[in-house]
């Protein structure tokens, strides 16, 4: 059989981890953008938009990400729609992230006291101005912990993209573990790398929270 040195294992895992990082960034940036648009649409109070977005959120929160990936790649192929694994993974992760993020942020906006809306309205601010200058800056502060918590989930969620052919960190770990028959060692390294990816995110969130809290008691 083939021999892997410890360095071989680590090197291959780190190379695969690139894709984990890229997928996570795309999911978060794309999901954040879509989620923000959905949030503002929902805040306008339009009943149709509210119901539609609510259903969208329920759909993506209520089904497993694995299934969403599967259906977006294999499922739509049954109807003749061709997608590349990249396209399918990015779209699935963006939709998934947007559903969770818009719901998280909706809760954060709801946590801003109604009096802020009333005071800014009484000062003749329009809806867009209320959002941009009064409500969203306050909601942002509240949003940092749950948003970062979710970002860490996204990083781990990219592991599921292996079902549509991505060789990211977890899949690479599986392949190497299966050939070296050293699952503890290999998966231990995988866990360490995930930790190394996620921990700085948590640290950054902490510093962000402290920065935004300047001026608050």
């Amino acid at each position: 059989m083939v021999e892997f040195t410890l360095w071989d294992i680590l090197r291959n895992l780190l190379l695969a981890a690139r894709w984990t990082v890229v997928l996570s960034l795309i999911a978060f940036a794309g999901g954040g953008a879509v989620g923000l648009v959905l949030l503002v649409l929902r805040l306008t109070g339009n009943r149709v938009a509210d119901a539609a977005i609510g259903a969208y959120v329920q759909l993506f929160q209520g089904t497993p990400l694995l299934m969403q990936l599967f259906l977006l790649y294999f499922g739509i192929a049954l109807f003749g729609v061709e997608t590349s694994p990249w396209m399918a993974a990015c779209v699935a992760l963006i939709l998934y992230a947007s559903a969770y993020l818009t719901e998280i942020w909706r809760g954060c906006v709801a946590a801003v006291p109604r009096g802020q809306w009333e005071a800014s309205a009484s000062l003749a601010l329009g809806f867009g101005q209320q959002l941009a200058h009064v409500v969203l800056p306050q909601a942002l502060r509240i949003a940092v912990p749950p948003t970062v918590g979710f970002l860490v989930q996204v990083v781990k969620g990219t592991a599921l993209a292996s079902v549509i052919g991505f060789v990211e960190l977890t899949k690479a770990g599986g392949m190497i573990a299966n050939v070296t028959y050293e699952p503890l060692l290999v998966y231990g390294c995988v866990a360490l790398i995930y930790f190394a990816l996620c921990f700085p995110i948590s640290l950054y969130a902490g510093s962000l929270e402290r920065k935004l809290h300047v001026g608050r008691r």
């Binding site: 006291p113 009096g115 802020q116 009333e118 005071a119 800014s120 309205a121 009484s122 000062l123 003749a124 601010l125 329009g126 809806f127 101005q129 200058h133 009064v134 800056p137 306050q138 502060r141 001026g215 608050r216 008691r217």
Partner: protein, 266 residues
């Protein structure tokens, strides 16, 4: 800021409204409002003259705050009409509402300052966004107004560094920055510690002296008696009694008002 015979011209801080002195600046006709099945305002007719100070008193649930919130559109009403400084209140038009709200300022019981902005920025925000005031002009006006309420040195402070009374005075300055024709005060001292009430009431009194039209829902009977031109007693969604302070407080006619006034002394 024009020169003229009216009192507000002598004080450069307040901008004169469009309505003439002595003419009605707020006209409310047959106003009805319900929350679902519960009718809270059962037909209100009210004219407030320019420069008048009107105190609105009554039990909780009588509709006092709701009436005030109808005047600047925070609550929608089902029947009747409402005009402020010549502008009718049209709920469907966001544009009309914004124009109306530039003429009516509101001070809230819970201050509602913007916690993420400094005191100065709180006052300057709306004039910058809505009136597109130039930055230097905006800042000068903001400092002037803060000085007017006695807080000139707090320009760069954050709201959570101020006491309740100071925050409420900033709220007044913030509302004044939009040059309103009418100020609505919704129980503005009810959330304050007793020793802080005075500083706020002093500011309001000086505004009244300068000719600002004030509509105040209040429990401070002593203040109402001293400063108000007219007192309105509301009961179960209607204007039950109305008149100068001396007759309302000194010679109540209806049993409901009598009962209300005696309950205050317990």
């Amino acid at each position: 800021m024009s020169a003229g015979a009216d009192p507000s011209a002598t004080n450069p801080v307040l901008v004169p409204p469009h309505t003439e002195v002595g003419a009605p600046i707020v006209r409310i006709t047959a106003l009805r409002k319900s929350f679902g099945d519960n009718e809270v305002l059962k037909g209100i007719d009210l004219d407030v003259m320019r420069g008048e100070v009107v105190a609105v008193i009554g039990k909780s649930g009588s509709g006092k705050s709701t009436l005030l919130r109808c005047i600047n559109g925070l609550e929608a009403f089902q029947e009747g009409s409402l005009t402020v400084d010549g502008k009718p209140l049209l709920h469907e038009s966001a544009q009309a509402m914004r124009e109306l709200r530039q003429r009516v300022g509101m001070i809230f019981q819970s201050f509602n300052l913007f916690p993420h902005l400094s005191v100065g920025r709180n006052v300057m925000l709306a004039p910058r966004l809505v009136k597109k005031r130039r930055p230097d002009e905006n800042e000068a006006r903001a400092r002037q107004l803060l000085d007017r309420v006695g807080l000139a040195e707090k320009f760069d402070a954050m709201p959570d560094q101020l006491s309740g009374g100071q925050q409420q005075r900033v709220a007044i300055a913030r509302a004044l920055a939009m040059d309103p024709a009418v100020l609505l005060c919704d129980e503005i001292t009810s959330a304050l510690d007793p020793e802080l009430v005075g500083e706020v009431l002093r500011v309001v009194e000086s505004l009244a002296e300068d000719g600002m039209t004030l509509l105040m829902v209040t429990h401070e009977m002593g203040f109402a008696r001293k400063v108000a031109d007219r007192v309105i007693f509301m009961h179960q969604g209607r204007v039950h009694e109305s008149g100068p302070p001396d007759s309302i407080f000194g010679a109540p006619r209806t049993p409901e008002l009598k009962q209300f006034l005696s309950s205050l002394h317990e």
